[in-house]
Symmetry: C2
Subunit: 331 residues, 2 copies
């Protein structure tokens, strides 16, 4: 296993410690609950937005904590849901008179943990409610889900809800934003290689040297089909068609396009995909008014990418453009 | 070869096209010279800062073009110096009455191309001069260099020179900033895997499943030694010692620490390295006042990382904090 790791069992607390050390004025880290919250804590006049999932998807979710994004987040072991205790403590640490919106990617493990944690928090008088994200069009049900999976489109939900909450919108309003984004965002991914979770030490799935997994999940779950690898343009066209036909998007729509790297794919390859996706979007009559090319929701060092399209309106564009400050900054 | 690529011969122009498409208000792309310049062009009242190298190191260099950073950049094929024509046209496109500072990472190919291009530009009356960056402490001479290589510390030179130039400093002053940064920045890297240039289709070096290359160059050049892979903390300590002892840095120094990913290493592993480097820096009495963890200078999808330490003063801190807008943005 070729990784920068000490004790694999300590991998998650060690990298979270590094994130906190690198952002002392922005973040507070509680090792006991693998939880990171804004240094400034929750603001009682504003809705708090929290999320949490298994580790291995960074910058989601602890690197998305900060003004304009999440109020707090917690993580489990690599690809394992956070502990109920961690979820409960995160809601408590972010409790606000204005309420707490808990964003949950739709996986059984995450939902079970956040369900119990939210119930415990509500029983204590905290005004908390959940919203489930399920933007992945690849499969109807997956290994770890009933229903669609939540993948990279999750970024747009966090960004818009974080901006709305920090602008002082109510819990009902922030929840309505989450619903609007989730209703208008669709994603599909493709993997060229597996990744190796440090504690496992071996790949999570086998794939041939000339194969790709179309519609892969962010934990290596099977997608729609295993195919021989194709050209970047052919792969992008497959992803684009699956995503575009799902809602469907329509000619004239204002859209954001995201090309998300799964961890092991260089940014240059993502821009090759972006160029084709942009061309296909324009050909379909969409107005491409925002774009996001980089790593937003990863699977450790998996080589692969996902394509996300979000239908915009003036409200969402304004929320996307609002300032945010998180650990996930570059240049 | 598992990559998102169409025709390997078109890989560089295709990804540059994608970068330009994604940043229409920020950048202008000239395919003929694989050149990207600020949309606003040069400002005659301000020094222009340009750089260019082989491709495969993104976000260096074309993704570093924009206000507060480079005025323009050009790239060659993957790991091959840009053509003299490209360098010459880039200097010309960025020509300014205040002068042009050409930043060159110290490789024979890059130096030869920029030498000739600068000479041609000067002969035409453009006030251009070069500055060579050589922050890599690993080896005295390397495959492609006489003298030390320029690697990830290059970011700090671009950032500080870009900020100084945009603040209206003279060519002499911006050159003095480049010298100050280069004199105070040191880097060493380690590779766990090779990468595969698209046009080559095979790894650029062989390395065992349990080996690492300590002091690797960003084109896969040999470093100081081939070793059995160690723990993240042991690797970080090796890098730290090599870098810290070189200038040397001293107790009480205010420093920036950069942990740079070489392309295939997830950000979480970079934070494991950061945590140890931060601890060692504090133990040595340095004040760690800035940090940069992410991908700044890559080798395609190589798994690996480099550690950079920069000694700061009030002037450099101000320049690092100045705003910049480039294609390399996330969140």
């Amino acid at each position: 296993m070729k990784k920068f790791v000490n004790d694999p069992a300590q991998f998650v607390p060690e990298f979270m410690h590094g994130i906190a050390l690198a952002n002392p004025d922005l973040l507070s880290y509680t090792p006991e609950f693998q939880m990171i919250v804004r240094k400034s804590g929750p603001d009682n006049a504003k809705v708090s937005v929290v999320q949490g999932s298994g580790s291995g998807h960074e910058p989601a979710h602890v690197m998305a904590v900060g003004p304009g994004m999440l109020t707090g987040a917690c993580q489990g072991a690599v690809f394992a849901a956070p502990a109920v205790d961690s979820c409960y403590e995160t809601i408590k640490a972010c409790a606000s008179d204005a309420g707490v919106l808990v964003l949950v990617n739709n996986y059984q493990g995450d939902r079970m943990a956040w369900d119990m944690a939210t119930e415990m928090a509500v029983a204590e008088g905290i005004n908390a409610r959940q919203f489930w994200i399920n933007d992945d069009v690849a499969v109807k049900d997956s290994l770890y889900t009933v229903g669609r999976r939540g993948v990279a489109g999750n970024f747009f939900v966090m960004k818009c809800c974080g901006a709305a909450a920090d602008a002082g919108q109510s819990l009902d309003e922030v929840e309505a934003i989450a619903k609007k984004v989730n209703d208008n965002v669709r994603t599909m991914g493709v993997a060229l290689t597996s990744c190796i979770p440090p504690a496992k030490g071996t790949p999570i799935f086998d794939i041939g040297d000339d194969e790709m997994e179309v519609g892969v999940g962010i934990h290596g779950e099977p997608g729609r089909r295993r195919e021989k690898i194709k050209s970047a343009d052919e792969i992008t066209a497959e992803l684009f068609e699956a995503v575009a036909q799902d809602i469907p998007f329509n000619s004239g729509d204002r859209v954001a396009i995201m090309v998300n790297g799964l961890g092991g794919t260089p940014i240059t390859e993502l821009y090759v995909i972006y160029a084709k996706a942009h061309e296909l979007a324009e050909k379909a009559g969409y107005q491409v008014v925002r774009n996001y090319v980089g790593e937003y929701c990863t699977s450790l060092e998996m080589a692969g990418a996902s394509l996300t399209i979000l239908r915009l309106d003036a409200e969402l564009e304004k929320l996307l453009d609002a300032p945010a400050e998180t650990a996930a900054r570059i240049f």
